[in-house]
Amino acid sequence: MIPFDATLTAEAADLLNREAYLLDRRQWDDWIALYAEDAVYWAPAFASDDEMTDDPDNDVSLLYMDRNGLEARIFRIESGDSYASDPLPWTAHLVTNILVTDIRGDQIDVSASWLVHSFKRIYGSIQRGGLYDYTLRREAAGLRIARKKIMVFDDRITGPLDIYNI
C-alpha cells in the first residue's frame, strides 16, 4: 500500500461519494458519466462459502458489464416496464474506509467498504454490504471510473440486486 496522500485521497473520496449521491438521487445520466468509455463493472458471485468467482470468462458473475451494459440497466429502470423496478426502492449508500491502495501511471486503485440500506414496501428494509475495488483513471475532465469490482457479501438475496442497490 502506498503512503498517505491527502490530496489524492480527498479526490478519490469525492468521486466515490459523488457516485453514491447520484445513485441515491437517481440521477442516472450524471452517474454513468462518471464511468470511462471502456469501463468494466463487475460483481462476482460466490464460488463457495469461502471464495468468490475470479474469472469472468469461465465463471458466472452476478454482474459483468461494459458501459453499454450499464446504459441498458438505465434503459430498463426508466422504461417503467420492469415489474421488479417499478417502484424502485429508496436507497442510501454508505461508502467508507476509502483508501488509495496503489498508483499505476494515470490509474489509481481505491478500496472502500459499503453498506446500502434500501426500502420497498413489499420487502421492508434491506441491508446489504461488501467491499469495492475501484480503478480510477485521470482523464482530461478529471478522474473517471475505469473499473469497479463490487463484492456483495450477501447470498440468499431478497428482492432484485441491481446497479442502484449495491
Binding site: 460483481a43 462476482p44 458471485a45 460466490f46 464460488a47 463457495s48 462459502d49 469461502d50 468467482t53 474469472d55 469472468p56 470468462d57 469461465n58 465463471d59 458466472v60 458473475s61 452476478l62 454482474l63 459483468y64 461494459d66 453499454n68 451494459g69 446504459e71 441498458a72 440497466r73 434503459f75 430498463r76 422504461s79 416496464d81 420492469s82 415489474y83 421488479a84 423496478s85 413489499i122 420487502y123 447470498d155 440468499r156 438475496i157 431478497t158 428482492g159 432484485p160 440486486l161 441491481d162
Partner: protein, 447 residues
C-alpha cells in the same frame, strides 16, 4: 365416509377441494387458497417432498472422493458425499450421537466428517470411525447397542449426471418417477459427448411466494411476452448501442414475436411439463457450432431440438432445466407457505470453446440471477400472484388455449420420437399445468 384430513396441529386440509378438474365439462380450476393455506403446506412437506424424488445436485459438483453437497429435502437437512469407491451416497445431515449437522459448508471435501459438537467421526460411506472417549464412556455392551453409523436417506440415484434423492422407501425407481420427462432432460444432458458441468458461481435468492407459483411460472409461456417484454427491449437497446453481432447477439426477439416463431407446451404426465419455442436466431446460440458433432451422436430430429429450439423442462415438483436464454438448473425449496428459497446454476458442455463459454455465461447473467434482467421481474410477478391469491374466495382458471389442446404428440414431439400426454401449439397455453396439479392431487390424496 370419513373425510380425509391432513396437516399439522389438527389443521384440516381436503386436497380435492382445491382443484376443480372436470375434463368432460372443459373445466380446470384451482382454488387460490392452495398457495397460502398453512395446512396445505404442512401436508405437502410430507406427501409431496417427503415421498417423491428430489433433485440434489449435479455430479460435476462432487467429482472427487469426499466431495459433498449439502441441501434439504423438505425440512430435512441431507447431504450427498462421494465415497472412496467413487459412488455417491446420501445421508441425513445429522450426527448419530445427538443429531448435530455435520457438513461445514454447502459444498466441500471431507474424507472424514468430524462432528464439531462432541467429536464423533464418520467416513464417506457413513460408517462411524471414532466415538471420542468411547472406551471409557460406554461399557462394551452399551457401545454395541449404540447405533453409531449415519442414517442413509431412502434412495439416491443419478440420471444423466443429475443426482436425485428421496426419503421414502416406497418411492419406486427414479426412472419410473421421471418417466416421459427423460428425453427432455436428455436435451440438456446430451449437449456434449464429453458431458456437462456446473460452472463456478452460483446464487441463492428468496421469494415471498408459495413454491407452486415457481413451478407454474417455469412452464408458463404466457407471461413471457408481458413480464419479459422489458428483457427483450432492454437487450434490443443494448445490441443496438453495442453493434453486437455473432454469438454476442441474443435471441430476445423471440419473446416479442408470437406469431412467426413455432412453440408449444406438453403435459408429460407424472407432474412433469414443458414449454418450448423455436430459437429466433439459432446461430446466436452457443451450441450452434457443435451441430455437426452432435449429428454424429444423435438423430436429426433430436439435433433440431438441441440447436434450434429452446425449452423449459419442469420436473415435478421443484426442478427446472431451462435451455432458452442460456442453460440453467434451478431448484426451489419450500420454507413456509409464503417463502421459497431458490438456487440457480449454469450448466455448460464440457470442452466447449472459449467464445461459446463466454457467450453462454453472459447470456446466463442476463437472465437467470437475482441480479439479471429477467428473474427479478419473474419473482415480482410471483410475489404479486401470491399476495393477490390471499384475496378471499378466488379461483384461477387454467383455460388458456384449452380448445387447441390435442391428445398425444404434435409434429415437434414426433420429431423427437417422444411420448406426451397432451400437446398444445403455441407457448401461450395453460394446459401443461394439468400435469402438475393432477400429480399434486394424486400424491396429496394418498394416505
Amino acid at each position: 365416509m370419513e373425510k380425509k384430513t391432513l396437516g399439522a396441529k389438527g389443521a384440516a386440509c381436503d386436497p380435492a377441494s382445491y382443484i376443480d378438474d372436470r375434463p368432460g365439462d372443459g373445466v380446470f380450476r384451482l382454488r387460490r387458497a392452495v398457495y397460502g393455506d398453512p395446512a396445505v403446506f404442512e401436508a405437502e412437506l410430507d406427501r409431496i417432498f417427503g415421498r417423491c424424488w428430489n433433485y440434489i445436485c449435479h455430479e460435476s459438483q462432487i467429482t472427487a472422493p469426499g466431495d459433498y453437497f449439502a441441501t434439504r429435502i423438505g425440512r430435512h437437512p441431507i447431504f450427498v458425499i462421494r465415497g472412496d469407491d467413487g459412488a455417491p451416497r446420501g445421508f441425513y445431515d445429522s450426527c448419530a450421537h445427538r443429531g448435530t449437522r455435520l457438513t461445514r459448508r454447502r459444498k466441500g471435501n471431507a474424507r472424514t466428517l468430524t462432528c464439531r459438537y462432541h467429536g464423533w467421526c464418520f467416513n464417506a460411506e457413513g460408517r462411524c470411525t471414532l466415538v471420542r472417549g468411547g472406551d471409557e464412556g460406554y461399557t462394551r455392551e452399551a457401545m454395541a447397542a449404540l447405533d453409531t453409523d449415519l442414517r442413509p436417506i431412502a434412495g439416491l440415484d443419478v440420471y444423466k449426471g443429475f443426482v436425485f434423492g428421496c426419503l421414502d422407501d416406497a418411492a419406486g425407481s427414479l426412472g419410473d418417477f421421471l418417466g416421459d420427462v427423460r428425453p427432455f432432460i436428455d436435451l440438456i444432458a446430451d449437449q456434449s459427448p464429453q458431458g456437462m458441468e456446473v460452472l463456478r458461481g452460483d446464487s441463492t435468492y428468496m421469494m415471498k411466494a408459495n413454491w407452486k407459483l415457481q413451478t407454474e411460472n417455469s412452464t408458463d409461456g404466457y407471461h413471457v411476452a408481458s413480464v419479459h417484454r422489458n428483457f427483450a427491449t432492454t437487450l434490443g437497446y443494448r445490441e443496438q448501442i453495442s453493434g453486437a453481432d455473432g454469438m454476442a447477439k441474443t435471441e430476445a426477439s423471440r419473446i416479442l414475436d408470437l406469431h412467426n416463431i413455432g412453440s408449444g407446451g406438453y403435459d408429460l404426465a407424472g407432474g412433469h411439463m414443458i414449454n418450448w419455442s423455436d430459437r429466433g436466431n439459432p446461430r446466436a446460440a452457443p451450441l450452434w457450432d457443435s451441430r455437426d458433432e452432435l449429428l454424429k451422436h444423435h438423430s436429426e430430429g433430436k439435433v433440431r431440438w438441441l440447436v434450434e429450439r429452446g425449452q423449459t423442462v419442469t420436473v415435478f415438483p421443484n426442478l427446472l432445466l431451462n435451455d432458452v436464454a442460456s442453460t440453467c438448473i434451478r431448484q426451489w425449496r419450500p420454507l413456509a407457505p409464503d417463502l421459497t428459497e431458490i438456487d440457480t446454476w449454469c450448466l455448460a458442455p464440457i470442452g466447449e470453446g472459449a467464445e461459446q463459454r463466454r457467450a453462454r455465461i453472459r447470456k446466463y447473467e442476463d437472465f437467470f440471477f437475482p441480479s439479471s434482467l429477467a428473474v427479478p421481474d419473474d419473482v415480482s410477478a410471483m410475489e404479486g400472484a401470491h399476495d393477490g391469491s390471499l384475496a378471499g374466495g378466488g379461483w384461477s382458471e387454467f383455460a388458456l388455449s384449452r380448445h387447441t389442446m390435442i391428445d398425444g404428440p404434435d409434429d415437434a414431439a414426433r420429431e423427437l420420437g417422444v411420448n406426451v400426454r397432451t400437446s398444445n401449439p403455441g407457448r401461450e397455453s395453460e394446459t401443461p399445468f394439468y400435469s402438475f396439479y393432477r400429480e399434486w392431487l394424486r400424491r396429496m390424496e394418498r394416505p
